[in-house]
Structure formats: C-alpha cells, structure tokens
Assembly symmetry: D2
C-alpha cells in the first residue's frame, strides 16, 4: 500500500472482456480458464477498481432464454452491490456472430442491419438495467477488404440511420443514457469506416441527436495509425465530446495489442494523463477511466490481477508526475509566452474592417521575431526528467 | 496521341511548386534550375493541363516591393491568358520563413499569428486577382515536438479564430472564394494538429462560416498514416465538403513522398478515380484535379515534363477502367444486394415506437443469413483484372 | 480457360491451412466448415495447383495415436497420388499449443525447447514420408512483450542450438531435405526475433550446416514493416538462399492479412514476379510458388476456390506483363547504362595499389555527370502502363 | 552538477553535423547560424563530451584546395588537442552532391562509382589523420524509386566490390581502421538497399575482409520500420559486430526525426542502455556512444547546447536505472528460470543419435508445463516503475 495504490475514488473501470480475456489469438486458442463475471467483480473490487463494463454477451451468452438471462443478470447485480461496484458503460457485441462477417449497421444485407438494431436495443435495455449511463459503439466489422463492394457514402448513411434510430429509442424510453462512438482504423477489417476519432467527431456532427453522442477514444486504436492520442483526446475535449475513454497501450503500425496502460510509450501516457487531469490548465475529464487491455498470453490468473493492478498504479504514478511537472518553477517559466493583448484584440473578437486595417499596417518584424529561441529542448528534457523521477 | 492524352476538358492542374520543384531534400540541395513561372504556364499548357495553382511566394518572392510584385503579376496574367490557362486555387506559404518555425496561426507568439494573418490577407488578394475561386490552407508547421509547450485545445481555438477572421475578410470584400483545409499527420513537425481529413472535417463543423469551408485531401497525407484515401474522400463528399483534391502517391509510413499519381498503389488510385468519377453511382466530383507531386531527384527538366504527362495519363487510364468495371455484367451481378424495402422502412424513416416494436419481433434467422457467401473474392479479382487490363 | 488459367507446370502450391482456413480472427470464431485434407487435395488439383504444403497438425491433429496417424497419412498419400499432387514443403506447428505461449526453441523453459525438438523431429519424419524436400521454420511465438525476460543474445543462441541439432538429425537420417527459415516482425508477439529476411540470412551464416539452410520470405511479413519485398528476395537470391517463397499480399503497418496474391500493391507484385521469373536478367527462381494466403471471412467454400484461382491467375498475368515489359524496345533503351569497362577495371578486380593510384588521378567531372537526367519518370510510367495493360 | 552530469569517462560523442545542424528541412531553410567546427569542439568539451565525429565535408567543404584543406585540418587538430577531444569515427558524405542523386557505390554510372571511391579514399585519409579508428558507411542514396532501373542483385554486387576495394585500401596503407556499415530503410530514397541492421549483417558476412567490417546501427533507422532496436543491437553484439552506435530517438513510421536520445520511447531506450551496459548479463559494449541527433528547429544556439546536454544526461539516468533494475531482488527472483541441465545436455552439445533417441522418449507433459504462469506482467510493471523512478 503506497501512494499509487488504487482506490474507489480514482474511478478506474475494466471491461469483463479485459480481465476475462482467455489469451486466444490468431495463432492459438485459450490459455486461461473462463472466470465467472461475479468472480471478476469481486476481484476487481479487491484490486481497487470502481466499476466494470460489458458487452451484452460478456454477461449473457447468445441464445439464453429470457429466464436464464434474468437469473444471470440478477446474480450479477447482487455481486455488484455486494462489492460496491458500478457498471458505468455497456456496449453490444456486433462482431463475433458470423452474421456480422461484413459489418452490422453498414452491411449490404438489410436483415443484418435489422438484427444489429434488435441486438442493440436489447443491449441498451440490459445496460440501463445495470445502471449504465453510457453506451459505447465500436464498429467491429464495419469496413471492407474488397472495397468495390459498397460505396463508402452508403456505409456512412446506413450508420447515420442506425444512430438516429437508436437515439430515438433511448429518448422514447426516457433512458438517461448517452452514446460514445469508438473509432479504429483497421482489424479485423482491412479498412474500417470512421478510422480515427477525428472522423468520428465529424460523423457525430451530422447526427439528428448530436448532443447525445460523443466519442470513446482508445489509445491503441489511434496509435495503430501513428496518430497522437493526446491530440485526438484534446480535440474531443475542446468540442465537449469526450464522453468516455479506453486506456491501454500499443506500438505504432501493428495488430491491436491492448497492452497494459503506460507500458508502451510512457511519454505519450504522461501527456495524456496531464491532459485528462488538467494539471497544465483547461477543464479536466471527470468520467470513468476504463482500461481496455488484457494480460499477456504468458500469464495465468495471478498474472491477470497483477496486470489489472499495474494499469491503475501507472495511471496514478503519472498523475503525480503531471502535478509535479506543472508546479515545477522552471517549467512554469519556460511555458510563459510573449503576450500582447492589444495585438490579439485585432482579430480575436472576430473580423472587423477597421481592426483588420490596423492589423495590416503593423510592422511585425518577422526577421527579428524569428531569431528568438523557444527553449523547447530544455522544456522537453525537463518533462522527461519528471517522467524518469529524477527531478 | 492516344485515348489517354490529356486535354483541357480533363480539368488537370499543377502547382507552380510541383513541376518547379528543384529536387532538394534533407540530404542534398537542388539538382535542377529554377523555371520561370511564365515558362511553367507555357509548358503545362502544352502538356494538356487546364490550370496552375500557387503559393503567394511561388510567384512573388518574399521582400518584393509593391511595384515589383505588380510587374510579376501582370506578366504572369499575360502568360495565363496567352496559354488559355487558369488559376483555380491559391494558397499561402506559412512554413518557409523562420518566423513560422513553431507554426503560424497556432504559434504561442501573437506576433507570429498576426504576421500569418497579414500574409494570408495579401495572399487572398493575390489569388482573387488571378481568378482563384478556392483558397487552400495547409497548416505547414502547426504542430509540436515538445508537446508540453501548448495545450492542443489552445491550438484549435487559435486556428478557429484565424479561420473565422479570414472568412470574415473574404465576405467583407465580397470575394467569390471558398476555403479548403488540408490535413497532414506529421512532417515537418513530429505531430501536426488536425492530422487527417476526418479531424479537419470536424473542425470545419465548428467554424462561424462553415458553409464557406471544405477540405482539400491529399493522397500522400492520408496514406502516410495508412488510412484509406478513398474512404476519407468519400466521407468529405457525403458531407458536401470535397472542395478540392491533391493527387499524388505515397508509401504508407514514410516521409512525404509526393510521387507521380498512381505510381504507388494503383489499386487505391483506381478506387479513388472510380469514386471521383461516380462510375459506381453517387455524385461525381466536378472540381479541378490537382497534382501535388514532383519529379524524382534523378530527373532533369525533360524528366519533369515526362512526369507531368505521366500523372495525367494515369488518371485517364484509370477513368477508362472505372467505366469498364462498372459496366461489366458480372460485376453488376456481384454488386446486386439482397433487398427488403419493407424491412428497411422499419428504421429508415427515423425512430417510431410502433415500427421499432415490429422490428424487434421479426425472426431474422441470423444463423441462416450468416451462411450466405458474399463472393467478394471474385468481385475483387475481377476488379484487379480490370486494373490489369486483361478483362 | 485463357492464357492465365493455371496448370501443373506453373508449380503453384497452397498450404492445407490456407484454403482450409475457417475464417476465425481475434473478434470472431469460424464461419466455414472444416474441409478434409483429401478433399482439399482434390479441389486444388482441379484448380490447377501442383502441390500442397502442411504443418504436422494440419494433417494429423495433436494427440492422435500412431495407428490413427498412419491411417490418416496413408489416406492422404492416396489422395495425393490419385490427383497427381505433391508435397514439396512441410513444417511444424510450434505456436498453437499453450505450452508454446512464450516461444518454442527460445523459451526460457528447457522442457518447452525439448518438446519443440521432439515435435519437429516427428514433423520432419512426416514431411519426408510425404516426399517433402523442404522444411520450413516460422518462429511463431519466438519473441517477447516484456522484453526484460530474456537477453536477445540468449534467444539467438538457443535458436542456433536447435537448428544445429536439427540439421544434424536430417544428416544422420540421410534425408534429402533442406531448411527454409521464415522471418516475421511481430504478431502474435509484440516483437519477434529475426524480424526480417535480412536478420534471418545473417543468422543462417552463423549455423553449423549453413549450406543446408536458406530462407522462406513471405510477402506479408516483410510488407508489415514497410520493407521492399523484392529487395529482400533479391538479397536472398544473390546469396543463393532463396529456397522457398510465400506469396500473398498485405498493407503496410497492419495485422497479418494474408490477402490474395497481387490484390494489394500490384506494383510490388509485378516487380517481384519480374525478379522471380528473371525477365529482366539474372537467374530465375525455380522452386515452388506457394500461396500462403486465405479467403476473406465473407466467403463460403465457393469463395475459397475462387480465391485460390485468383492467386494463380494474377501470378500468370504478371508473368506475361514482366515479359512484355522487358522486351519493350523503349524500356530496353531506357535501361541501357553508360559503360566504361576500362574505368570499372580499376576496382572490380579487387584492390591493387597501382590501379588505385590511377583511379585517384582521373578527373571524373562530377558536376557534368550530375547534369545528366536519368529518365526514371519515363521508365516508371512505362512500367505502370504495362501493369495497366495499355501498352 | 549531479550524478547525471556527463564526463569524459562516459565516452559520449557527437557529429559535427548534429550540433552544427542549422534547422533546414524540406519546408524551410536554415534558422541557425553556421558554427565553426573548432567552436563546436570547444562547446562539446565544455558540455562533457569525449569526442566529435565528422563527414569529410563537415570539416573541409567540397572544392577546397589542398592548402586550404591542410590549414583547416591543422586548426581543427589544435582545437581537439586544446580541448582534450578525440575523433573516434569519420565518414564520407556520398549524398549531398547532385552527382550522387541515384546513389554512389550502386549507381548505374561507373563514373559515379569511381568518384565515390575517390572521395572515400580521401575521406579515409582525413579520418586516419585525425585519429579515427572507425570509418562509417551510411548508404545515403543507395536505393530506388523507379525500381525497374536496376536489379537489386547488381546493386549488392557493386556495393561488395566497393567494400572489398576499400578494405584493400586500408590494409595496403596499414591503417588501424575498421568499417561500420549503417542501414536505413528509406529516405531520401523510397527504398534503400540494406534496409535494416539484419540485412547489413548478412551483407558483411559475404565480404572479402569481413573481420574488418561491423555495423553502426542507428536508433531512428530501425525504429522507422517499427523494428526493435535492442533486438537489432543484440544480434550485432552476439555476432561480435557492434563496432559503433548512433543514439537518437524517433517515432515509428515517420520521416527521419533524429530527436534527442530517450525523448521518444524511453522504454526502448532503457532496454537499449541495459543491453549496452550489460547490467542484465552478457558482455557490455565498450565503444563510443555517439549521438546522431539534432536540436528542434525551434531552438537558437543556446537550445543546441541544452539539447546536447539532454542526450547525455538521459543516457546516464537510464544507466543508473538499469543497474537498479538488475539488482532489485524481486526482479532477480522473477528472472530466475526453470533449469534442467541434464535435459539441455541432450541437444546443446550438438546432434548425437543416442542423445536424440533419449530426448524423443521423455514424456515432457506439455499440458502441465503450459499451465505455469510466467509473471511477465509483474516483471514488466516493475521495469516501468524503475523507469518512472518510483521503486
């Protein structure tokens, strides 16, 4: 027990599918036993987590009768309550059943789209019953290999129809539920639609109930394409659209790794935590901190819980570092910018002919300004020394 | 002279900086002589191009007096008119002068932001004088290496201020001009803001005059991150935001290559041309087809014009193939989907409780639907055989 | 039946695991039924293939008794003989059983290494019994995530011990069998040892029986890292080490896709076929042409055989194009280089002080030579027009 | 002055071109003034460096007379001696002059190859005069865009001829000099020959004087392709071929960034330092630690020296962490492997029929061994906590 031991107040959550991951991959089957969802709840609570998230079929396998479903759900609710755990987020598995082999909401076959809607309405009901306030959509197989099969514009329209229908469903039922859309560039499809958080943010701006819909960015999904995850998250925050977040880690340009948070690229992890916690200024993120990762295939169940603890510890370590960095006097000094409010006033209040005229007439001496060194090497080295804990 | 020889009606354009590129790179200086812009106009016209685009300083070097500028511009206009060439697009160089070393509109120094606005207003005036209907913004150095130096949200806000001010300028002057924003993930900065067309589309949706602003996607910039360029273009088209396009080619995960159009990844080039030309359905793109590429460093000036011709020929070759593919009866048969308008009507018209209830009650037989083979291997092989010209 | 229909003489082979692939991936289980290996043999023969390759457990599942094994093998041999098919290559599955979760020959646990040797000796016996002349080693899980677990030098030494032991086994048994080692950069491990064909070629040069060991490069594995596959194959050919080849296609920087040969990046596929066929000069490759790919998950069994045919057709299409390209008179002219045998003689025969002295004294006029344009844009455009079939 | 302040004994070196870098890139010219090489020597010495490396033209610009050259060299030697600095490594600039636009030793034009040999012999003489014991070859433009222009096998043969000639030159002159070859996958060419350290190691094994030739791996060059740099370095060390090393940092799948060492991906930097220092076992690397990086373009000269110090500090920080990690008792416990020397003896001594027979007969109980958890999550988390300095 040290300063980095997780506690309920840290708002850490895990998916049932994360600590419950059995270690299968394209080249080998499971290496770990199934863990009962109620057992997962108990163990996560003991590790210091605050909640657990799920796909419909993580809890209720496909093909269960209504009665079986109700028993499973009621047992699960008891486990939650006994362990003081919540379900902040739920989602639908729209990718495992073979019927979704060419996508769900964007499939060329209307029967598949219809089935996806049925399954999602059921999943929403389940999520709401468990207390979820957020419903995540990850477009699993919404994409292509043989790209000629479907116009991308048709795919987008179909996705919009589905989202508009489903926000309608939520409103009609009076559910207190918002949607969070999750982008991914590829895998399991060669090209997924809406490959980045940016594409998703734009798509959301075209929805009927756009105020109900935000994003759920995932570290690994943005990093696969070599994009800056903190930048993507920052763009979502600036737009008031960061409804949820999936934390893990990943190397650029590889299969979806879902590694322990902060284990790859601790520099970016630091920048992310700094942004989420707002230590450098700006509004912090206040939602749940969800780890969408899984233990290496080399691990048995003991390793799974060591993995779970590692994620949370690393977040707390980085949070402490972010605070220290932003209160380091040399850092504060380096971050101080040249200010000139009178100059900025010429454009910040919007275009005005007179102010524009004034702006055009100022001699800004660009050659002189160009000679000022910005000392970013020093700033960055200080940041690294904070990450390394030697400052 | 064959079916693929470019003509004015094909709407092909080149930047002055493309055929005028002198072959410098980070490891060596120029290998080719400067070509006078008027000479470029003449040569491009002879090759079959329709127009030429430019950065302010491609035509008028920094530091010229008003009088020198006017002479240069007037000579250039004469060359355009003598050669029946147009300038459909202009843009500002906001990256070469050292003052922009940490960005232009997003710089921490308000003097830099002010200078960028001055330079852009001048550039807009120049573009309009030359007849441009589109003004492109590529955010050159808007990005970071030492990421702690600036909150990404601040960068976005500054960019928005600049765009809002500049659309104000255009409106106040009564210019018939629209903006096209161009994304790039990195280079020359380690991380650029607005790294993809998706991020840019979202940013546009937050602007004061969003109807005046669209995107200018560039093949190389999307491909650097391994994203599907046709999908990005399709999302822009679906939103009515494809105002301009930059054609070239690029390998994934490399420095910005700006290679001859279609020379890398002819499959994606085919899919792109098919989308732009609308042979597979949907509205075609009707704007200029701009090649933002340059000749290999191994070339002398003869090679530059061979390069220019190659870009245009390849576009026309692919256009002919796209038409052939979409009128191939076997392809049409493979693209025919299962239809069920009655089923689709349950959600397409928007959410309605009664229709939703009907939808939930249908037995969609997912196990049966899952067994239908989609024959995408055959479809894709046919596409490749069209690309190979053996069908 | 056209010029591109495959025939036995084309030396095309498939793995049992390729056309037998059932469509599982990390996000969903099988979508296609198991096909009996004898049935696969029949169907491949009908498609025009020449042979079939296998992992030990593709034919004989783990845990079969000796008697069951013998029955399976004897039935399979009958199917081969009835269909005039051969087994040119065999290999061991050292990655599916959970015991291999941290590698086989490089595992930290000597029991795992011992088991891998046992399994490989059995696999070699099986391969030889089926007539294989080549035995492939793909290091499945030889790699790491938690890199501190093992010194990479230890991993290399263990791999060398295993290879030396196994070539010893082959020699002691008088088998007519060579080894072909296959590199892969990552997946299923975060970092695999020997990530490229280059690393593998070097490793081979350190083996006790290096003359018995060559490489089996796979398109997808080199392309995942963005490396030139033709260059890797060329380096292997130059060293006399191209013992086998795995053909498929792949996008850079993604999960292992194993797509239909030539369907992604037809340009590189053309360059590869040109190299293998020797149409541009140099010794051709004369071994089997193995397709290590699988049909999209969208396909039923019909789609699998369409996929199989597509691979072979594309190879033959590209072979015809390679011949046409290298006999195009303009291409031949462009490929003609400046020659100066007297000059080259100064270093080509090895170092000699007198010749070196002469070499140092020549005025080579670099500024003049630098001005010669190389016309590679024209050459490359011609190549593309051959690929497009418009020349 | 703290424990991480660099001193001469740390063997840190910089290239003249690194701290002398003026900040040019493809989108803008220099932002910093030229610094005289003697001034660089003084400043580096003050920062705590041990030596300085150079390309021929970093010190003696192209076109200088013999007399001018001698004056420059003699001044430079005085500066070295006055500042107690050495030149451990020298190299040739074979990429900046336009004559090398299509490569140097692999060019199709024998005059270019001859000129490259002339220039390299001169460069070797200069390096030896300055006391260099190592001569680096980075193949700048040895590569292609229009791949049809040259058979890769021809390129390899030409490179071998050049290397064999030049080792001959060194031997004939009795120079105490070894070669170190440096790989890079691309940039400035679309595809470079010998793209990775693995390819280079193999090439070396085919040289006439292979014992004189090793590798000079560079972090950025291996990371561009997403390959593990520690693994590449480890393979070179295992083969006794790590003659020199270029330290910097880089993001995967981007232009050549040459960032400050350890600033990107501190995890890999830690693993590298641990390997070089041998704290985890194995022979350490004892050569110079060369930083081939440059300051951000945002910096003035002050920033350059802050950059220089940052590289060296980070190395020393990581070295201290590596020692701490490998003496952490819990780490030592986790790294302890199952041992069974009797079992290993069955194959480690090489193949023997009797021992092989024994090996085949042991029941290794793979299902039981498979169940052992390897606790790599815990190991990796401990490593991260050492990197973070919280353990």
């Amino acid at each position: 027990m040290d300063a980095y031991t997780p506690t309920r107040g840290d708002r850490f959550t895990f998916g049932l599918w994360t600590v419950g991951n059995r270690g299968s991959d394209p080249f080998g089957g499971p290496v770990r036993d199934h863990i009962d969802p109620c057992e997962i709840v108990r163990n996560l609570a003991e590790c210091g987590a605050f909640g657990v998230n799920l796909h419909d079929n993580d809890l209720v396998p496909l093909g269960k009768s209504q009665k079986e479903r109700d028993t499973i759900v009621s047992n699960f609710k008891r486990a939650l309550s006994e362990n003081d755990m919540v379900v902040p987020m739920a989602t639908t598995n729209l990718f495992s059943h073979p019927v979704f082999k060419d996508g769900a909401f964007t499939s060329n076959d209307p029967r598949v789209r219809a089935f996806a809607l049925q399954k999602t309405m059921d999943g929403i009901d389940l999520g709401v019953e468990l207390g979820a306030k957020l419903y995540v959509f990850w477009g699993g197989r919404e994409g292509t290999e043989a790209d000629a099969c479907r116009d991308v514009r048709t795919a987008i329209e179909r996705m919009r129809e589905a989202m508009n229908f489903l926000t309608g469903y939520v409103k009609a039922n009076g559910y207190d539920l918002r949607f969070a859309l999750e982008a991914k560039p590829n895998e399991p499809r060669s090209e997924n639609y809406f490959p980045t958080t940016g594409h998703m943010l734009h798509f959301i701006s075209t929805l009927a109930d756009e105020e109900m819909v935000g994003v759920n960015p995932e570290v690994a999904h943005e990093v696969m394409s070599g994009l800056s995850f903190p930048h993507a998250v920052g763009q979502a925050m600036e737009a008031g659209k960061l409804f949820h977040i999936d934390l893990n880690s990943q190397k650029i340009g590889r299969y979806d790794q879902d590694l322990r948070f902060g284990s790859e690229d601790p520099r970016q992890a630091f920048l992310l935590v700094r942004l989420l916690e707002g230590t450098g200024g700006g509004e912090p993120y206040r939602g749940p901190l969800h780890f969408d990762a899984h233990a290496y295939r080399s691990e048995d169940e003991q390793g799974v819980w060591e993995f779970a603890r590692g994620n949370m510890r690393t977040y707390k370590i980085l949070k402490a570092k972010a605070r220290a960095f932003d209160s380091d006097p040399e850092v504060c000094e380096l971050l101080r910018c040249h200010e000139d409010p009178e100059l900025e006033a010429l454009w910040q209040a919007g275009y005005d002919s007179k102010r524009a005229q004034s702006l055009r007439q100022i001699d800004l001496k660009p050659d002189e300004v160009a000679r000022i060194g910005l000392r970013y090497e020093r700033l960055d080295q200080l940041m690294m020394e904070h990450i390394f804990g030697v400052r």
